[in-house]
């Protein structure tokens, strides 16, 4: 779509913006993958069970509910 626009060609090195952006994302993503890979198993299991815990905890101390 060359006919649409050339405005930003006059800004020096404008292509650097998207390149920096993608680089930041890729680096971030790789670090995140490593982090998740080495995450403690027990911790992950506990966190996953959090939504299911809440009623149990409450119910233990609540006599009127089963």
């Amino acid at each position: 779509m060359k006919i649409v626009s050339h405005y930003l060609e006059s800004i020096e090195g404008v292509a650097i913006y998207p390149i920096i952006g993608i680089l930041i994302f890729v680096l971030f993503f790789i670090v995140l993958l490593f982090y998740l890979f080495y995450l403690d198993k027990g911790y992950v299991k506990d966190m996953g069970n959090l939504p299911l815990d809440d009623d149990l905890e409450v119910n233990e101390n609540q006599t009127k509910k089963l």
């Binding site: 649409v4 626009s5 405005y7 930003l8 404008v14 998207p18 993608i22 809440d54 609540q62």
Partner: protein, 829 residues
């Protein structure tokens, strides 16, 4: 360890749930009405407050901010208290939030039907309401962060992360997109102009979808789906990956709404690349949701609420696949401005948001009221009605989108548009719109059944407004990292820090998009012939905004031959430098208007044509679906407010001469009087101060500046003069083509049988205004008679076609059709 007693606030959850039900019905009802209006214009009720242009934003706002908004708050207030084992931070803030949000919705509805709008999609509300939204949003965030700080659970579950990201991102988006200069209490102008305004608006619009319709719902999915299936999420790791990748990527994709439009190349490419990358985290999330049900699919068969959730997650997967596909430039070239976009968003809102909300409601009501669902059978009926509703909605609209787009782009073997009459492409898809009405009725019926079912459920039980609970107190958490604790675990203990980092993640994308955009300002090539609007045109533009013309008419000719042939020169960034706000539009229910003011162009219509068309569109084109606007000829422009508008524009950098505000009213009246006098010669008597005069002035300005710019260039390469062809034979084939051309192009002004109408003269009598010889008729067709509203056709028709039309018109002589117009011009024997 000390056990602490506290209570969950169920009352606020209940209120948000009732609000969700109420606004769902309202949003669906208005949606159904506007679907009916698109087939039967009579349902605009000939009433200014109920036209499509005003009701469509009401529908979108009701669906997004009223229905989905209240459902989000219902889910957050319910799940967060339980995930954090604490009551909400402050009851007072909760209730300010609830009532504040409802007041905003009512204020939005009232102002939108009154035509008080900024015209920016999903951000139509005027500045006082924008400020209210900001305040209520801060209250919501304050309450939420406060609750997180008060928690009795060490770590924040992933749902809470999604809630936090929603809060910070919507705050940033809303504030940046609402930069506007107030003119009166009900009117403001966007600080940005043209290209910048478009880029900011769609950075907002896209992320409103991302962070209002998606991230909070993912949070809800990660809480309620495990709850309903009674098993933990398939992979908690995957949900963490889903979160960070999604919020990082989403913010970049906005420019895909502006492909092939007057936007820099690199921004378009950025939008495409990030949109495609978005498939990965989105599908990770979908798979995670569906696999949570592994080993529990037998439950799905028996439980309506699980069925709702399964379809919702599937719809999420479909939408997030379709979205990136629509961002590919070659697909977008076909899909944009058609019903495809409409079908796409409805898969999202009806399927993903609607069905997940319904699933949560069916789960929540029995819990909240300590009872059983009133009728599982009715819930199943609702499920099937809703599912059929979505299918009957989406499939016909995909069909209509592709049909219409291909018709727009089709050329004849001779290289002319196959369907030069835009209306033909609308008439073709109307059967699909009938089916859409049926779909709306199905979906609506399902929702009404649900409301009945849930209210019955509520009546059969009792809501414990303050549910007693207890949990161990949270040990004093160490400020620093505990030994053996990973960075992220530490982060999850630090909600404020977490919020700041989420903000940073979304800001990176935002800044990369917006910084160069600010640089664009100095880099848009100024086109010398582009001048600020005259005061009358500015007022006309405000009428155009108030009536919501932008809902159906784009002002953006894309650089495709099919568009330049139909409308005229493609749009350039430099044309829009004084457009506060931009009005490019997103759907062409009617034709593009960017070139209506180009006198020699294909879209040109005379003042009298516009006048008659605005008052009675069906009188000009029997099949038109545009509503009539009779009040425009009765209501006056508020001339006393014009100087303030000029001053506001000056403060935004529009170069009116200094002190021009004092001159503006006189200039406005002079231009208006000129138009009114011109209309008198066509026997139209209208006060110059009427809104319709201003609107006509605005329409006649569109594209005018750029045409003057290019006229000079074209002068150099003028085609040889056109003459009446003498070497063409008159045969049946020629006459059939000519009749077809006549019916497609000429009937708007000369009637189906040549009888004439208020605009065009009778062609069947012996009276001619510009001579009745074949040569003279041929030349009038070729060159038009611009001052009377007859356009030039030589760009659309070959000389042979025009020769044929001449013969066809001559063949109408003496046919004496019904409703013939009185003779005009001189007798020619």
């Amino acid at each position: 360890m000390e056990h602490q007693n506290f209570s969950y606030d169920n009352k606020i959850v209940k209120y948000f749930a009732y609000a969700t039900l109420l606004w769902a019905v309202v949003a669906f009802l208005v949606g159904l009405l506007i679907a009916v209006q698109l087939v039967f214009p009579i349902f605009n009720f000939n009433f200014e407050f109920t036209t499509f242009g005003r009701l469509r934003p009401l529908h979108t706002n009701a669906a997004i901010f009223a229905f989905v908004g209240n459902a989000i708050f219902m889910g957050i207030y319910h799940s967060m208290q339980r995930l954090l084992k604490t009551r909400m931070f402050s009851d007072k803030l909760s209730w300010i939030h609830f009532w504040g949000w409802q007041i905003i919705i009512v204020a939005a509805a009232a102002t939108l039907v009154a035509g008080i709008t900024t015209s920016k999609e999903y951000a139509e509300l005027e500045w006082p309401i924008d400020i209210m939204i900001t305040l209520v949003w801060v209250v919501f965030g304050w309450n939420m962060i406060g609750t997180i700080i008060m928690r009795r659970v060490k770590h924040m579950y992933v749902a809470i992360w999604f809630y936090i990201a929603t809060f910070v991102t919507v705050a940033v988006l809303h504030v940046v997109n609402s930069f506007e200069i107030p003119v009166t209490f009900f009117k403001s102008y966007s600080m940005f102009a043209g290209v910048q305004d478009a880029l900011v608006q769609w950075w907002y619009g896209h992320n409103a979808v991302a962070f209002f319709l998606t991230t909070p719902y993912l949070g809800l999915m990660y809480y309620y789906l495990p709850k309903a299936a009674n098993r933990p999420v398939y992979s908690y790791r995957l949900s963490m990956l889903h979160f960070w990748a999604l919020i990082f990527l989403y913010i970049w994709a906005g420019p895909h709404h502006l492909l092939y439009q007057s936007l820099p190349d690199w921004a378009q490419t950025l939008g495409v690349v990030f949109s495609v990358m978005l498939i990965a985290p989105s599908w990770g999330g979908m798979v995670n949701g569906l696999l949570t049900l592994r080993g529990a699919w037998d439950k799905v068969r028996d439980s309506a609420l699980l069925k709702f959730m399964v379809v919702a997650v599937t719809a999420y997967g479909m939408s997030t696949f379709e979205g990136p596909m629509l961002s590919l430039k070659n697909v977008n070239a076909i899909s944009h401005f058609t019903d495809w976009t409409i079908a796409h968003v409805h898969i999202g809102v009806l399927g993903w948001n609607g069905f997940l909300t319904f699933g949560i409601l069916y789960w929540l009501f029995p819990k909240l009221f300590n009872t059983k669902l009133y009728s599982e059978k009715l819930a199943n009926v609702h499920f099937w009605l809703g599912t059929l509703g979505i299918l009957f909605y989406a499939v016909p609209l995909y069909w209509s989108a592709i049909t219409q787009s291909l018709m727009w782009k089709e050329f004849t073997a001779d290289g002319y548009l196959a369907y030069p009459n835009f209306l033909e492409t609308v008439t073709q898809i109307l059967p699909m719109y009938h089916i859409r009405i049926f779909a709306g009725v199905l979906y609506m019926a399902g929702a009404v059944i649900m409301v009945f079912n849930l209210l019955k459920t509520a009546a059969s039980g009792q809501c414990v407004d303050n549910e007693e609970a207890s949990a161990p107190a949270l040990e004093n958490t160490a400020k620093r990292k505990i030994f053996g604790e990973t960075g992220h675990q530490w982060l999850e203990r630090k909600p404020v820090m977490f919020t700041v980092l989420a903000l940073v993640a979304i800001l990176i994308g935002g800044i990369v998009e917006i910084v160069p955009m600010i640089l664009v300002k100095t880099n848009i090539p100024t086109i010398e012939s582009v001048k600020p609007y005259t005061p009358l045109e500015l007022e006309g533009r405000d009428v155009y905004i108030a009536e919501g013309c932008v809902q159906c008419h784009s002002q953006m000719v894309r650089p495709f031959r099919s568009e330049t042939e139909r409308y005229g020169e493609y749009s350039k960034a430099g044309e829009f430098v004084y457009d506060h706000p931009f009005l490019w539009g997103s759907r062409r229910t009617g034709p593009d208007l960017a070139r209506t003011g180009v006198v020699t162009g294909k879209m040109y219509k005379s003042d009298s044509w516009h006048y008659n068309h605005m008052l009675n569109p069906q009188g000009m084109n029997a099949q038109s679906i545009m509503p009539p606007y009779p009040w425009l000829a009765e209501k006056d422009v508020n001339v006393s407010g014009t100087p303030a508008k000029i001053r506001a524009m000056q403060s935004l950098g529009v170069p009116y001469p200094e002190g021009y505000d004092q001159q503006a009213q006189a200039d406005l009246m002079a231009q208006a009087k000129g138009i009114a006098d011109g209309l008198k010669t066509s026997n139209i008597d209208v006060e110059p101060t009427r809104q319709i005069v201003a609107l006509i002035a605005y329409l006649q300005r569109l594209g005018k500046d750029i045409s003057e710019h290019t006229a000079a260039i074209e002068m150099k390469e003028q085609a040889p003069p056109l003459t009446y062809p003498t070497d063409i034979e008159v045969d049946d084939a020629l006459m059939i083509v000519a009749k077809d051309n006549y019916l497609k192009n000429c009937i708007a002004c000369h009637g189906v049988n040549g009888e004439g109408n208020p605009v065009g003269p009778n062609l069947t009598d012996k009276y001619w205004i510009d001579g009745g010889s074949p040569e003279e008729i041929f030349m009038i067709i070729a060159n038009g008679k611009i001052e009377k509203g007859m356009q030039s056709w030589k760009a659309q028709f070959s000389p042979k076609d025009m020769f044929g039309l001449t013969q066809y018109i001559l063949s109408l002589q003496g046919t004496n059709p019904a409703n013939a117009k009185e003779p005009q011009g001189e007798l020619v024997e």
